[in-house]
């Protein structure tokens, strides 16, 4: 089975996945999400890490039908049926792809306010992989 992220490699990204800390380029000021070795905008490699607010808005989204997600999410789809995935535009400007959870797919719109939550992503080799998903932010319009 290829297309697999090993535990040590996954562990090296926990700062981003658990605490939403991401690097900002010292040269051009671009926030890089996820982190890179060379800045996504200017190609240089010096960064200052900062903690993000976790607030963002739906840039675009989809509802993936049962069985349509990657095999790592089969167990989740057996329980939840469909799975909502969005490109989230973060308050700080960068975009990330993440699942929307605890929400009614019918209520999701482009522009809906979101906030990040800590959730289980998938299981592999008996180890749970955690990271961020997003929920609708009821406190904002």
């Amino acid at each position: 089975m290829s297309s697999y992220v090993s535990l040590p490699i996954f562990a090296s990204t926990l700062r981003e996945r658990y605490r939403l800390e991401e690097p900002r380029c010292r040269s051009c000021g671009t926030l890089n999400v996820p982190a890179r070795m060379a800045c996504i905008e200017c190609g240089r490699g010096d960064f200052d890490w900062e903690k993000l607010t976790g607030r963002g808005r739906v840039f675009t989204y989809t509802v993936i039908a049962r069985g349509g997600a990657p095999t790592e999410f089969d167990e989740q789809q057996i329980m939840s049926g469909s799975l909502v995935v969005a490109i989230v535009e973060l308050e700080e400007g960068a975009k990330v792809v993440a699942q929307l959870t605890d929400c009614d797919p019918e209520e999701v719109r482009v522009g809906s306010p979101l906030k990040a939550v800590f959730r289980k992503l998938y299981d592999q080799e008996g180890v749970v992989r955690y990271g961020y998903k997003f929920v609708m932010d009821e406190e904002r319009e």
Binding site: M1, S2, S3, V5, I9, T13, P34, I40, F59, T60, Y61, T62, V63, I64, A65, G68, A69, P70, T71, E72, F73, Q76, L83, V85, A86, I87, K95, V96, V97, A98, Q99, P105, V110, L121, Y122, R129, G131
Partner: protein
């Protein structure tokens, strides 16, 4: 050094449980050889590029050498090209560059994919691995979801209607009815396609390609020697290729594919022509929305207006700019690595005026284009061709 296509061949695209990787390749190669009007000694082929993602078929490493051996070309310098669904188009670009460089006289560009011998789970795995695996796929989405999100953004920014998007499938199925080599040779109606089971909202199963076996081969040579082999050489006017961020969340604009725009700009510049000069095109409609975006990326219309071309029927067989007369990836079939070369086969026949079923022949077409995309636009390659003088 100008480059000419002197022969093309492809298998039918479809489900062929009894045809191995080798059998598929042999069939396409033999057809390409037969297509060289005045004959070609296969030993004249000096270099071969074979595009494939290697999903099924039982061979992973050294696939190019194996397939060359299969057709009696053991010993030739051969390369496996992998750029996801654009592997075939990039294989062709390599062959073009090799001829242009003067390093070789005759070269082969091919593509192949054996997909139907895999269990469903393993096919699902392969179909998700050409986007960004670490952050995109393992967040929970593979390609239907990615293209669905691109479709949603296009609808949001440009008011594109779902019926125009799915209209691409209706058009391409109508063309495939007349293509004996197509996988899905049946017409579909818009209402039924719109009501089909949802794959990734707003895309239904009729907005997506199937799982397909197939192989295709193109043989190219120096243009100044082309007449030795055929009186109907099709000239390569321009070649362009580019890459982009694999994950769509890293891109500024999600209503088009920047790599395709860059590839098209290069190809148009080399060819000395513009979008208005293109009379027939085979574009990468891996999902229906991809064809709408292709119209804009290739300059067939203004940004945001791709849907209007479907609404107004402008890209149908009898329209001013027929797109995917073969049936496209949607209905002709999308055997990943073979797709880019299959597009070139179609355009070569169109420009020579010898399409097998006359009803699909775009009359008088002299300049044609192929547009081949890898993943969700991580790679893209565009070629422009001219009919024989």
């Amino acid at each position: 050094m100008e480059v000419a296509v002197i022969g093309v061949g492809q298998t039918s695209f479809g489900t062929f449980p009894k045809k191995s990787l080798k059998a598929l390749f042999f069939e396409a190669f033999q057809e390409a050889l037969r297509d060289v009007e005045k004959g070609l000694d296969p030993k004249e082929i000096e270099e071969a590029w074979i595009g494939t993602l290697s999903t099924g078929g039982g061979q992973l490493g050294n696939q190019a050498a194996l397939l060359c051996e299969t057709v009696g070309l053991a010993g030739v310098s051969a390369h496996h090209v992998e750029n996801a669904c654009a592997s075939g188009g990039f294989a062709f670009r390599n062959a073009v560059m090799a001829i242009r460089s003067g390093r070789c006289r005759v070269a082969m560009a091919a593509g192949i994919e054996k997909m139907t011998d895999l269990p469903r789970e393993r096919n699902r795995l392969w179909l998700g691995v050409s986007g960004d695996v670490e952050w995109e796929r393992l967040a929970g989405t593979n390609f239907p979801g990615i293209y669905a999100m691109l479709a949603r953004r296009h609808m949001y920014e440009h008011g594109t209607l779902k019926e125009w998007i799915t209209g691409v499938a209706v058009k391409n199925h109508a063309n495939a009815v007349h293509n004996p080599k197509a996988q899905f040779r049946f017409p579909i109606d818009l209402e039924r396609a719109m009501r089909a089971p949802m794959l990734a909202d707003p895309l239904t199963v009729f907005d997506a390609c199937g799982i397909t076996d197939g192989a295709a081969v193109a043989i190219v040579c120096r243009a100044d020697e082309a007449r030795r082999y055929t009186d109907r050489p099709v000239m390569v006017m321009g070649s362009g290729a580019a890459t982009d961020y694999l994950a769509i969340h890293d891109r500024k604009d999600l209503t088009g594919l920047l790599a395709a725009r860059k590839a098209a700009a290069q190809a148009y510049k080399e060819a000395g022509v513009g979008p208005k000069d293109i009379q027939v095109a085979e574009v990468h409609d891996c999902f229906t929305i991809a064809e709408i975006m292709a119209y804009e990326d290739l300059g067939f219309c203004e940004d945001g207006q791709g849907g209007f071309l479907i609404r107004d029927g402008l890209t149908k067989l009898d329209g001013p700019i027929p797109v995917n007369p073969s049936g496209g990836l949607k209905a002709k079939g999308h055997p990943i690595g073979a797709t880019g070369i299959g597009q070139i086969c179609e355009i070569v026949h169109q420009l020579r005026g010898d399409v097998q079923e006359p009803i699909r022949q775009v009359k008088g077409a002299r300049i044609g284009l192929t547009h081949n995309v890898g993943g969700s636009g991580g790679t893209a390659v565009v070629h422009i061709f001219r009919s024989p003088e």
